[in-house]
């Protein structure tokens, strides 16, 4: 079984978000980059399939060479090899197109991506990749079992869960629940040493096609002062919510 895990290299969740070049570019100054949290849940699930079902796990990212430390971390966590498609992405469709190409060259039984990235935040790439390849697709995936050619996957929906069966190949959009927070693998020294020897292949992008472009960024307007209400004056809070805020 071959598994591909799509990794998005994103700013750490504690990062302050700032922009430069007249708000056209994300300011990476002092920002730590990490594996997109949803992708990390997916990667952990893939490593379990490697351990239990002797799957081979490849990680891939579309990005410039600043993404390599994130890919090395994936290798240290347990992925067998890594691919970097050397293109700085600006659009979800563009990424899906590049990923589709490598999935046409090598057939993966399962492709795991995150439900959404925490930077571009589009929830686009896995669904577009599935449509481009005409593969089955389950997003918001909170459980996955694979046996032979068949998979059972659970999708979190608004207010419940949907249990889906399908044949491979399958693409999922992973999120917490697929594995728990406590299951995430923290690389040990041995893993980190081994990761240095594992193959990380850099490939050139194919012809580049985009469907959207970001013109500029904007930060939210800073919030005004909070209005504090004494704990023994609940009536005042209700009055404010009713008459001032108009929400009850």
């Amino acid at each position: 079984m071959k598994i591909l895990v799509c990794i998005s290299n994103v700013p750490d969740t504690t990062s302050k978000i700032n922009f430069v070049d007249e708000n056209t570019l994300f300011d990476t100054n002092g920002v730590q980059f990490i594996i997109n949290p949803n992708d990390e849940f997916g990667l952990t699930r893939a490593i379990w399939m490697k351990q239990q079902q002797s799957a081979e796990v490849t990680v891939v990212t579309v990005g410039d060479n600043s993404c390599e430390s994130t890919l090395r971390k994936c290798l240290a966590i347990g992925a067998d090899n890594a691919i970097r498609i050397d293109l700085k992405p600006t659009d979800g469709f563009q990424v899906a197109k590049q990923l589709a190409r490598i999935c046409q060259e090598t057939i993966y039984d399962i492709i795991i991506a995150g439900r959404e990235s925490i930077d571009y935040n589009g929830a686009m790439v896995p669904g577009m990749l599935a449509a481009l390849l005409d593969y089955n697709f389950v997003t918001n995936c909170v459980a996955l079992d694979v046996e032979g050619e068949n998979a059972q996957a659970s999708r979190e929906i608004d207010g419940g869960i949907e249990i889906i069966s399908c044949q491979l190949p399958l693409i999922i959009g992973a999120q917490k629940g697929l594995v728990e927070e406590k299951d995430l693998i923290i690389p040990n020294m041995r893993g980190i040493m081994q990761a240095r020897q594992k193959p990380l292949k850099v490939i050139e992008p194919t012809e580049d096609e985009i469907k959207s472009s970001i013109l500029k960024f904007e930060k939210p307007i800073p919030k005004g002062e909070v209005k504090l209400v004494p704990a023994d004056d609940i009536d005042q809070l209700i009055d404010l919510l009713h008459n001032e805020a108009n929400v009850i």
Binding site: P11, T13, I17, F19, N38, F93, I118, Y120, N121, A123, M124, V125, P126, G127, M128, A130, A131, N136, F137, N140, V142, Q152, R155, E156, I157, D158, G159, G160, I161, E162, I163, I164, S165, C166, Q167, K176, K211, S212, S213, I214, L215, K216, F217, E218, K219, P220, K223, V226, K227, L228, V229, A231, I234, D235, L237, L241, H242, A245, V247, I248
Partner: protein
């Protein structure tokens, strides 16, 4: 040419988000001087869409769409989009809409912008404002394609009445070959979901344990709202993961968000920022959440919540 919305419904009722899409779509369609069309699935009553500016409703019926499937729904919407030369297709931000949007985009070679929060800045080329960095920022995204899809964030566009007499067309759904089957749907009935709720009441580690959650539930019930929690609360198994809100959980875009015993970590705030009004109850006046809130009470959750629930009940019965 046309503008199309996918109007979602549940238990025989059109969802509020569909009226938001209609109101939003009406502005765009009027500006472009083209008809505004709604597509529905398995929905009998559709007349109410006319109140919000819809001129034509295409009702899909048939066994292949009795339950939602992304593939089938996307293909039916694509068909209608082609027949009506849609320039813009507007979807909600529900889990289902986000599931089918990428498929629709590839089928129609359309551009797609999700998490859009306002009317387009420009129609040529289509330029929209959307949230990014999980609500920590916005970007202006330009889409220069023949057809474009806009995913409108819930509760970001106000419902407006623009009464129209509507034409209703019924269509049978085609059925696409697929090995993907929905085996089972487990849905808690009667419970308001975080995605659709006007009010969300959220509890953090300050609630001390799952046995105290009746306080959160009572308050939420009183307000007709949904319950939510911080990440550690779901990681410890006090509450289900589906209630985890924030940067790595669900986004909240309600009118009112009440956070109790939640410190207000940057990852929590990121996910709840787009709620219109935020109320914080915390016994630590230094809790960071107070800086991001509109109203606050410095006090003990176990004393404040029962009083608040009681007073709200009195208020509601008036």
């Amino acid at each position: 040419m046309s503008v199309i919305i996918y109007a979602e419904s549940e238990n025989g009722k059109i969802k509020k988000s569909a009226f938001e899409l209609a109101s939003y779509g009406y502005e765009i369609a009027s500006e472009m001087n083209v008809p505004l069309i709604a597509v529905t699935f398995n929905q009998d009553e559709v007349e109410s869409l006319g109140t919000y500016g819809i001129e034509k409703v295409i009702k899909f019926k048939g066994p292949s769409i009795s339950n939602f499937t992304a593939l089938q729904y996307a293909e039916n919407i694509a068909l209608i989009a082609k027949e009506n030369e849609a320039k813009i297709i507007i979807l909600s931000s529900s889990a289902n809409a986000k599931y089918l949007a990428p498929k629709l985009s590839i089928t129609l070679s359309a551009g797609y912008a999700s998490n859009v929060i306002a009317l387009p800045e420009k129609l040529q080329p289509l330029t929209v404002k959307r949230t990014c960095f999980t609500n920590k920022a916005f970007n202006f995204c330009s889409l220069s394609n023949e057809v474009n899809i806009v995913g409108l964030s819930n509760n970001s566009y106000e419902i407006k009445e623009n009464p129209k007499s509507i034409e209703i067309i019924e269509k049978d759904s085609s059925s696409t070959e697929t090995t993907l089957k929905v085996e089972k749907l487990e849905k808690s009935s009667g419970k308001v979901t975080i995605a659709d709720a006007d009010v969300v009441v959220s509890g953090g580690r300050g609630l001390k344990g799952p046995e105290n959650w009746h306080l959160i539930e009572d308050l939420a019930d009183t307000l007709g709202g949904a319950t939510a929690c911080s990440k550690p609360v779901s990681d410890m198994g006090w509450r289900p993961h589906s209630e985890h809100v924030g940067q790595t959980g669900k986004p909240v875009a309600s009118n009112l968000y009440i956070a109790i015993g939640v410190s207000g970590a940057i990852q929590h705030l990121a996910g709840v920022n787009s709620s219109k009004v935020k109320v914080v109850i915390n016994n630590d006046p230094e809790a960071p959440f107070f800086k991001a809130a509109d109203y606050g009470i410095v006090g003990d959750a176990f004393e404040v919540i029962p009083k608040l629930t009681k007073k709200l009940k009195e208020f509601k019965s008036k």
